[in-house]
Symmetry: C2
Subunit: 294 residues, 2 copies
Amino acid sequence: MAWRFALTIDPAAPGDPRGSFAETFTVIDPAAPALSVGELSTQRGDGIFESIGVVDGHPQEVAAHLERLVHSARICDLPEPHVGQWREAVAAAAAACGPGESVVKLILSRGVEHGPAPTAWVTAAPAADFAAVRERGVRVVTLDRGYALDVPARAPWLLLGAKTLSYAVNMAALREAKRRGADDAIFTTSDGFVLEAPTASLILRRGDTFVTPAPHGGILRGTTQVSLFAHLEEQGFATAYATIAVSDLATVDAAWLVSSVRLAAPITAVDGVALPMDAAFTAAINEYLLSPRD
Amino acid sequence: MAWRFALTIDPAAPGDPRGSFAETFTVIDPAAPALSVGELSTQRGDGIFESIGVVDGHPQEVAAHLERLVHSARICDLPEPHVGQWREAVAAAAAACGPGESVVKLILSRGVEHGPAPTAWVTAAPAADFAAVRERGVRVVTLDRGYALDVPARAPWLLLGAKTLSYAVNMAALREAKRRGADDAIFTTSDGFVLEAPTASLILRRGDTFVTPAPHGGILRGTTQVSLFAHLEEQGFATAYATIAVSDLATVDAAWLVSSVRLAAPITAVDGVALPMDAAFTAAINEYLLSPRD
C-alpha cells in the first residue's frame, strides 16, 4: 500500500480564533520516520483511533467517527479531542485522496513517555479493493473473547467500548480465523452471546427486521452499522439492538459484517455451516454505503 | 526521563558467520523521529516487548528475558527472535547505561503495515528512583481482569501469557488504582483468583513458604519472580505455584509485587486492609535483586 498523505496534529494547541487549525498541523512524509521510540502508542498501545472511509474524496460519517473518538478518549482518560481541529485534519487528508476508495486514519496517542502532552496524526491511503469480498462474502468462525456479557459494565478499566490502539488480540483473532480456513471471526462472550468482529460490526436479518448486538456487551458502536440502520429504517424496515445467543446465528435469513472501509460483507458461513445470502440486497446496501454520507 | 541510547535492529538480517550482529544494528537518536506512522506497533499495539533492569551496567537475567521474548513471539505468530542478535543488542545498550540503575527495553513489532518484515529496536534510559517504594511499599487494589481462570487455556488468540505491546488495559488499571487512592493493582479472575499486577508479579509469604499464582491463569512468567524463587530455595525456603483465591490475600504473612526495574515492592494494604510487612527481609530481597544476576 502506498500512503498518500500524513499530517501530525498538535492536540494541545489552542484553536485559531478565526476558526482554522491549519497552524497546528504539520504535513509529513508518511513513509519517513515521524515518531520517536518513546511514543506510548508504540510502547503500550496506549491511544485511540478511527478509520474513516473516503469515496471519491468524500469522507464518510465524519461526525459519527469524531463522536466515537471523543467517547474513546473519555474511557481512556485522554484529554478530550477538539472536534473542530480533527474535522479540519480529516478534510485535509480527504482532499489528498483523489478518486476511488481511500481510508483516512486518525490516531490520538497518550504521547511520548514522560512527555507533556498527547501526540496525534492523520494518514490517508488508498483502500484495498473490496469489490470481490462485498459480492462473494466471508466465511466466519466464532471465537470466545473470554468475557461474560456483564463484565464491561462492572470493569471499565478493561476499556471495552473504546477503540484503543491495543488491537493485538483483534489481529490474533483474524489469524486464528484464517488458520481455521475462514476469512473473519465473530467474537462471542464466554456465556454464549455474539458481540462483533475484530474490525467490524455484525448485522443479522430475520424477516424484515435487522438486529445487531446491544452495545452493553462491551462492543464498539459501529458507525457503519448506525448509518445503515438509519437507511434501513427510512426504507421501512425495523431495526433493533438485542442480546443475541450464538445459537441464533444458524437461524437468520442473512447476516453481514459491516465496517467503514470494507463496508458490507455478507456472511456465507458460520463455523462451517452455510448461511443464506441475498446478493441483490447486499449490492443495494453497498451502493448506499458508497454514496456520500454525513 | 532522558533517554540514553537507542538502536534499531534488522531482525530479518542473516547473522554474521563470525558471530557478531553489529552490522544489523543502527544506533539512533532516541529523541528523534525513528518510526513511520505505518508501524503496526503504533497502529495496533501489534508486537512484543521486554524490560530489562540494568545495575551499574550489568543487564539482569538476560537469558530469561530473551526466553520470554521467544515465547511471546511464538504466541503472537511473530518470526522467532534470533537470541544471539538480541543478546548483542542488549549488551550494546547496557554498555551505554553508566553507573546506577537503568532500564533496557526490547521491542519487536510486526513491522510497517504491508511491509516485508518485522521491525525491532532496543532503548536504554535511567530507571526512576524506586528506593522509597522498595522500603515503604505499595497499597494495592484488586481489579477484575474479566476472564475466568480457565479462559487462557481454551482461547489462545487472547494472547494471555504473551508480553504484547497492547498494554492499554494495564495502564488503565494503574490509573483506576490511583483513582481509588492506591499505588498499584492486582488483577483477579472473574471467578475470584489472583493473577498478577499490570506490570509486576505477585509473591505471597506464608510461614517459610513463598507462593505465586500458577501461570496457567494466563499471566506472564515473571523473570524477577523466577530469579527470586531460585534464591529463596537456595536459602532453604519452600516455593510453590498455586491457584490462589482473592480471599487468601488477607491471611498472608507478607506479600510483594516484583518486577525487573522496580524490583520488590512490599504490599502494605490490599483493598484498604493492612498486610504485615517485614522491612529487613524486604531489604535483603532487594539486595539480592540488585546484585549481578544472570
